[in-house]
């Protein structure tokens, strides 16, 4: 094995997926290439297994999938669905593992496997679903840092896929990226003029993906088993993992054939289970409807009709399901593009995004070959959520003050953007202004997330209705800046955008966790 100095320094992109993850690096001329893992596979299952017989080793990937039937309690999958969720913790041998730490284990496996292939990861961009909020984006970046990676940015998965797509052919027109992955679904509409890509809008559903289709298949199997034996197929949660794998296999088979025939071995006896594509499609029809709504909503937001879409780019393994493609063909009147590898295009695009980020922020650090390879690519992204502040205007109907969320920066505003609005103090002699930065579409404060709160001191002895100028801006690196200014006194507060919820990690925590993880052996 080569030592660290002799390894090739690489700019990388990572798709940290719900079911599979992968890593790509930019080659000498700026083309992205998948780096296979230590097992020689291009995709690494996003699965973790804590081996009780060898506590010094944590198994990640195929090994973890193979071991998980041995002890499902020490096995973790689909952690991405819990990213940013404070309450999600997996206790192994008395230690709580958060979604960020578990994701860091997967990233560490990708990083170390890359090292085996003689690469030393210099800078990395990790892809996230377009609908991920600030909390989840930050959690993903933290996971990368804990894994010992220098995370220089985050890219939306459909954007990454389109970036890669645009580098493989000449594309003009409105492109809809349909990203149905293992656990999430995103629709992004963009305007492409060869290498110039302008994102118009993104819509996402974080609870719609391959595992939800698997659940439907598992429910069919369970029902059939119960009908035959009058007993439950899964009597203990420990048994579930085995049947989840069966269900996933059946789903995959039904993408290739009209019928799947399997023998199911349960405690009450074994039985042959035959599931037709028709039965499967009927079972997943609510999920397909949900996809249909998202398409409608995305088109509505882009102010486009289906006939105005020129190309559909399929991304994610679940886009292989025939009914998904049939519905798209019916709705848009043409077949979706299947020319790029649906499992890899996000990873490859994330690597390109990493190159573009370095080219923009530190061009001297970018090798000349890569710089030349990427120089024609132009990308304009959008703000993926609405950001606002809580204020107390007077309701016109009742004449009373009401507390409400007022959106300042609207979802799908092209980046970089800068919006200023003026608000007014509420009472005479007000000496303090409570500032809340919100994320969400509602005017009702109950339904929006308060992502930061601060206080701005005001001069005493002033009347009510003094103007406060609030400016929100969002840069191309997806970083938000908020500025609150008391216009009369000139006093201002620059909000450093840090997430103030309990459970968000501070730099010190990240450092400590990174130190701990560096001593953990991942295989």
């Amino acid at each position: 094995m080569a030592n660290n100095e002799s390894k090739k320094s690489a700019i990388a992109g990572i798709d940290l997926g719900t079911t599979f993850s992968s890593l790509a690096v930019l080659n000498a001329i700026g083309k992205p290439e998948i780096v296979p893992n230590s097992e020689g596979e291009r995709l690494t299952p996003s699965a973790i297994f804590f081996d009780e017989e060898n506590s010094g080793v944590i198994r990640v990937g195929l090994e973890a999938i193979n071991c998980r039937h041995l002890n499902p309690k020490r096995s973790v999958r689909w952690v991405k669905r819990h990213m940013g969720d404070d309450s999600y913790k997996i206790n192994i041998d008395g230690r709580d593992w958060t979604a960020v730490e578990l994701s860091a284990l997967i990233l560490k496996k990708l990083k170390e496997d890359c090292s085996v292939q003689n690469y030393r990861i210099q800078d990395v961009v990790i892809s996230v679903p377009a609908h991920f909020d600030e909390i989840r984006r930050k959690a993903t970046m933290d996971a990368g840092t804990i894994a010992g990676l220098n995370v220089i940015g985050i890219v939306n998965e459909p954007v990454a896929a389109a970036l890669y797509y645009a580098t493989t052919r000449t594309v003009f027109g409105k492109v809809l990226v349909y990203d149905l992955g293992g656990g999430t679904f995103d629709v992004t509409i963009m305007d492409m003029k060869d290498h110039q890509m302008d994102i118009i809008c993104s819509q996402g559903d974080h609870e719609l993906g391959g595992i939800d289709f698997d659940k439907q298949v598992l429910e069919i199997i369970e029902q059939k088993y119960k009908d035959k034996f009058s007993k439950e197929l899964i009597s203990a949660e420990e048994e579930r993992a085995k049947y989840e794998d069966e269900a996933e296999d059946i789903k995959k088979t039904l993408s290739r054939r009209n019928t799947s025939k399997n023998i199911i071995y349960g405690q009450a006896g074994s039985m042959k289970v035959e599931i037709t594509r028709e039965i499967f499609e009927d079972a997943i029809s609510p999920l397909i409807s949900r996809i249909g709504i998202m398409l409608d909503v995305a088109l509505e937001e882009a102010k486009l009709k289906p006939s105005q879409i020129d190309k559909i780019l399929l991304v994610g393994g679940s886009s292989r399901i025939p009914i998904v493609r049939q519905r798209l063909e019916k709705m848009f009147g043409f077949k979706p593009e299947v020319t790029v590898n649906v499992d890899e295009c996000v990873t490859l695009g994330a690597a390109i995004h990493a190159g573009l980020t370095i080219a923009r922020e530190n061009p001297d650090a970018l090798p000349a070959g890569i710089a030349t390879g990427l120089k024609h690519i132009r990308l304009t992204d959008v703000c993926n959520h609405s950001y606002g502040t809580i204020c107390a205007p007077i309701d016109e109907k009742t004449g009373k003050r009401v507390v409400e969320n007022r959106i300042i920066l609207e979802k799908n505003t092209p980046l970089p953007c800068h919006v200023a609005k003026t608000f007014y103090t509420v009472s005479e002699g007000q000496t303090e202004l409570e500032i809340t930065i919100t994320q969400g579409e509602d005017s009702d404060v109950k339904f929006v997330n308060k992502i930061a709160t601060h206080k701005l001191k005001l001069p005493p002895g002033r009347p009510a209705e003094c103007p406060i100028k609030v400016t929100y801006s969002y840069d191309v690196n997806q970083r938000m800046h908020c500025h609150f200014e008391d216009v009369r006194s000139g006093r201002a507060l620059e909000v450093k955008f840090s997430l103030d919820r309990q459970g968000d990690m501070q730099q010190q925590d990240i450092k400590e966790k990174a130190e701990h993880l560096s001593s953990v052996k991942v295989q």
């Binding site: 559903d205 609510p286 949900r290 249909g292 004449g399």
Partner: protein
Amino acid sequence: MQFKGLEQFKSWIWDKLKDTGLFEHHRPENQLDCSVSLVTENHQQEQNGGFVVKIKGSIHAPKDRRHTVAQIVITDVTDGISKAKPAHSSLERWQMNDSSVFCYSTELGRLPKAVTKLAEWITVAEIKADWLTLPRTGKRDLLLVVSILSGKSGEKIASTYCNFIYENSALGYIDLQENIEHAKILAVTLAFAVAVADNDVADCELELIKSWARTNIAAFNASNRSKRRLEKAINRTAGLLNQGQQIDISSVCTEIVKLTAHQQRRDILELCMYVAKATGTVTEGKFNTLSDIADSLEIESEQFFEMTERFLPPDICQVKDIGLLVGITSDMSKDQARERLNKQYKKWSSRVTNFDPEIRQQAASMLKYIAEARNEYIE
């Protein structure tokens, strides 16, 4: 000035009236006078009716207090001066500090002399009728007090008064209050209608209704006797309903519509929704009763739907018709239903990542119902 009750207002207005010389046997010579002329409503020119206030006479102002302000207060003395009641203002601008008492004020400018004589009637204010809320509807005897104050110190320099009769076509604030109180009694009836929608009134429902009545109905707190009477009436109603007595929801709602503004009707529907979910589940019968009440209270289906979203989490609604949960009505076309579902989807998909687990759960359920509804109504 904040009035904590009618007595405090009376004491304040009494002092004002004393200043005007109302209780003097002889009004001083060269005193200040005022007059009020009524302006009738002119629909064509979209002018509301109102009062033009004029003053005439002498104003004695020391050199340092010649910059003046005119302040006008209107009092309803229909029942005699000892039972005077203030006119209120619907506009915050013409409210006296923290109270809703009407107090108009306007700059008079700098008086030219120590004794300024106004030989002709000078208009000092044009007060629109819709700025005022009088205590009662019908013919009112109003007392108008004009005070001339130092613009600098607020000290009174001169004052005067006059009476005039005004036919008030709007409901007075006391009328409104009485209507509101009556409507609250009717609200209790509707709450019972929801409670018995599919079975007997449950103890928790009865307790909720009583608790609401205790907090909201003024008579409940007037005296122990009235409290006992109301408690008894509520218990008796519950008993009768459990024996099969019916409530005519439509006629109760019609009466409420006559008595109340839209916002209060929404408050009543909110109470009904709390009663509907008091047992932890909202049955289809209760949900349909709520829908009937909303309809009869003339609350638009969109607003009713917004309220159900807010107060009735989908997980507790045992409603078979998914259209009800997502706001699809039978009169909607396929396109309208699609539009409605898309709108709902946009709203709930942004809530699915809320920090509050309850909202997250509600959002997840709603997204499921929206997809099912699309499957049923659109595809």
